[in-house]
Symmetry: C2
Subunit: 148 residues, 2 copies
Amino acid sequence: MEQQLWLGDFQIGDAYESESYVVTEEEIIEFASQYDPQYYHLGAEQAEDSFFKGLASSGWLTAAITMKLQVASHPFAFDLIGVEVGLEWPSPTRPGDELYIRTEIKNIIMSKSKPNQGMIDIETITYNQDGEKRQIMKNKILGFKKPE
Amino acid sequence: MEQQLWLGDFQIGDAYESESYVVTEEEIIEFASQYDPQYYHLGAEQAEDSFFKGLASSGWLTAAITMKLQVASHPFAFDLIGVEVGLEWPSPTRPGDELYIRTEIKNIIMSKSKPNQGMIDIETITYNQDGEKRQIMKNKILGFKKPE
C-alpha cells in the first residue's frame, strides 16, 4: 500500500488490512528462547500439559509480527510513533497461523498547541486464517498534517 | 531468585528487581530488521534526523527484553499468563543501555467463582543504568494459591 495519507486525508471509521504472514513453529520457539523462555512457548510436547494445551506463541511475538505487518501496510505518510499501547491476547498464536491485521481509525484529536499535529487512536486486530482473534491492540499515535 | 510465591504469600506493595541486561546496537538493528523496519530503528546515521535524534530501539524490543528479565526474576510459583497489558514508552531504549526491571504488586482480586485463583495487577518499570524510564508496563496476570 502506498503510504501517503496525512492528517486530514482520513477519518474516523476508515480501516486498512494487511497481507498475511505465516508463523512457523521454528519462529515461535526461536523467539521464546531469546525473550520469553517459558516451557509452553518452547516445545510442542511439553506445552501439551500447560494452560495452553499445545505450543503457544509468546504474546510478544504476536505483537512483534503485528508491528511488522503494520509497518508494511499502514497508509500514513508520517512515521509511526507510538505513545501508549493497550494489548489483549484473546487466544495464543499457534504454529501455522497465517496472521493478518485490520486497523481502524477510532478517534482523532487535533492538538491545540501544535495545529499541524494530532493524536490518532487506532485499533489493530490480529486475526489468523480462520478469523480467530489473536491480539487486540489499541494505540495512540502521533499524526501530522502535510507540511506546507 | 527462587520462584516460589503463591497467592497468599505476597501482598500489595511488594516489589522485586531483576538483574540487568545490556542492549547492543546490533540487537536493536537485528530486531528492527525482522519486526519493525523503520529507519530510526535501523541505523545510527539515518536516525539522526528522526524524531528520536539517534538510533532508538523498537518499543517491542524493549517489551521483549522486559519479558526476558521478568521470566528470569519473577518470584511467582505459577506460570506468568498475561491477560491484559498496557505499555508506555517515555523514552526509547538506546545502544548500550543496561536495562533492569522493578515489578510492584499493585492489586490482588480473588476470584469469587474459583477460590484458588485471583487476578494480580502488577506494574513493571524498565529502567536503564541512569534510572531513565524506558517502559512502563501494567499487567493483569492470573495468580494461583498453592495446590493442596
